[in-house]
Amino acid sequence: MSAGTDAKEGMRLVYHRFSPFHRFNHYLVMISFFGLVLTGLPLKFKTSYWSQVLMDAFGGVAAAGFAHRAFAVVNILYFILEGSYMAYFVLGRKGPIFSDDSIVPGLKDWQDMKGMFRWFFGKGPKPLLNRFTYWEKFDYWALFAGTVLIGGSGLMMWFPEATTRVLPGITLNLALVLHSNEAFLATGVIFIFVHFFSAHGRPESFPADEVIFSGYLPVEHYIHERPLEYENRLKAGTLDQVVRPAPSKAKRRMFGWVTGIVTVFAFLVASYTLLLIIWPLFF
C-alpha cells in the first residue's frame, strides 16, 4: 500500500490509455449494466428470497420494469456512441484495423493465450502483451455482441404487440430464451469469471485499476504491463503521443476516490448477485 502510494506521489509521467470519450462510455456501460442486472436478474431467479427483497426495494415488479427500460435506454445510448466511433474510426481511416495495436483479434492473441497458460504453469516467461490483451478483446466484443442480442430481444419484449405484427409469436419465445441466457452469461462474465478479475483482480492491477476512470497509468506500470506496445512506440518514435506529464495531485486523488467508490460498489453488487443466484440451490 505505502509503496504504491509513494510511487504515485512521485509519479512524473503517465501513459494516456483511454480518451475522455471512452471513459465516458465506460461509465454509461457500468451504470446501465448494474441497473439492468439488478432489475432483470430477479426475474430469472424468481424463487430466490433475495430476488423478492430486491424487487420490493425497487418498489415492485412494475417499478423495476420501468427502471429496467430506463437503464436500457442508457444502454442504447452507449451502443450508438460506440457504434458511431467505430464507424468514424473505420470509415475515416483513423488507424489500421488489423494491426497489433488494434482491438480486432488476431493470431498474436492465440499465441499470447498459449503463452499465458505456459506462464501459469511456470513453463515459460509471461508473454509480452500489446495494447489490448486477448481477454480485453474478449470483454469488448462479448459486450458488443451481447448488447446487440440482449438489446434486440429486449426491444422485442418491450414492444411485443408491434413485434408480432411483423413476426410470428414464436419470436417472443426466442427473444425470452435469448435475453435471459445471454444476460446470465454476461453477468457471469462481467461479475465473476472474467471482467472484474481481469481488470481489477489480477496481480498486476490488484486491488483496483484506475486506468478506465482516470484514463492514464504511471509510465513504469505501463512499460511493465504493455511491454510490446511500449517497444513498438519506442521504435516508431510515437511515445510522445501517449506519454504526458502527470496530472495534479488533487486530480489524482479524485480519481483514486472515484476508483475506490466504484470498486466497492461493484464488489457489493457482484456479491449480492452471486448470493441471489446461489440462494435457491440451498434454500
Partner: protein
Amino acid sequence: MGGDLNSARQLAKEFTCSKRAAAAAVLAIVLAIVLASAALAASTTTLLPATTNTTAPSGSDQAAGSEDLTTRCLTCHSQEYLGTVQDDKGTQNLYIDSAAYHDSAHGLLPCNACHTGFSHDPHKMVNNAEFFRQTANEACRNCHDDQFEMYKQSYHGTLSRGGTAAGEKAPICIDCHGTHAIQKVGTLEYKQSISDVCGKCHGGREATFLDTYHGKAITLGRESAATCVDCHGAHSILPVSNPQSTLSEANILPTCQKCHPDASKGFSTFLVHVKPTSTKAPLIVFAVAVFYLLMIIAVFAFGGIHTLLYIYRGLKDGMYFGKGGGH
C-alpha cells in the same frame, strides 16, 4: 475547564432525562397498542355471533347456536394430535387449523354451513371424506349458484357428472378452492396460488407458465399479471380444442386483447407452455437454449480456470503482496 466539566455533567443529566422520557413514551405507545388490539379483539369476538347469524344459510334453528357449534367442533378438531388418519375410505384430515379457518373467506361461517345436515351427532352423518366429497358441490351451491352453473357446463363439471374413471379424478369446487383455509379471491396470495392449484393435475404446465414473464411477475408480486385462469377461464373452463374455449382458434385473440388491446393474430401464437430445453420445444427454441447452455458452461469454465491459474501464479510469484508486484 471546570465549566466544561459542569456543562458536560449537565448534558449527561439532560441526556439521561430525555432517555427516560423516551423510554416512558415507548412504553406508553406499546401499552396503547396492546390495549387497542385487546379491545379490537374483544369487539370482534362479540360481533361474531351477529355476523354469523346473518350469513348462515336459512335462518333456521341451526343458526341459533352456530357460533357455539363452531366452537364445539373446534374443541376437538383444532387439536393437532388428531392429525391425518388412513382408513379404507382414503386419507382423512381431521385436524383443522383454527386460526387459518377464521382468517379464511368463510371464517365467519359455522361448520354446518358447508357440512350440511347435522347439528347434534355429526359423526354419524359425516363419517368419511368420501361422503363429504359427494355432497361438497351442493354445499357450495347453496351460496354460489352462479359459479356452480358455469362449472356444471365446464369440462371439469362435465367430467364430474360422468361417473367414469376420468370423472373420479375430476375436480370439484374444493379441489381448486381448498376447504377450511379457503382464500378470498383477488388477493395477491390467491393469484399466486392459482398455478400451483392447476398444477396439481396439469403437472408441468405450471412450471412452463411460471417461466414466462406473466409467471415471473406474479411470483414476485405483480398483482395484475395474468395467471392460468385469465387465459383458460375459471369456472367455465373448456379444453382448447373446444370451439367455445377462451383459447380456441376463434376466441384466442380477444382473450389476449383483454390485457393487450393492440395484440394481433401473430401475438396470440406466442407459446406459453414451452420448456426450451425440452426436445418437445420447437426446434429453433430448443437449439438456442442448448447452444446457450453449452456456451455458458464453456465460457464460465474457461474463464474460471484462467482466473484461478492467474491468481495461483500471482500468489506464487509474490505479485500480490510485495516483491516485484504491479508498478
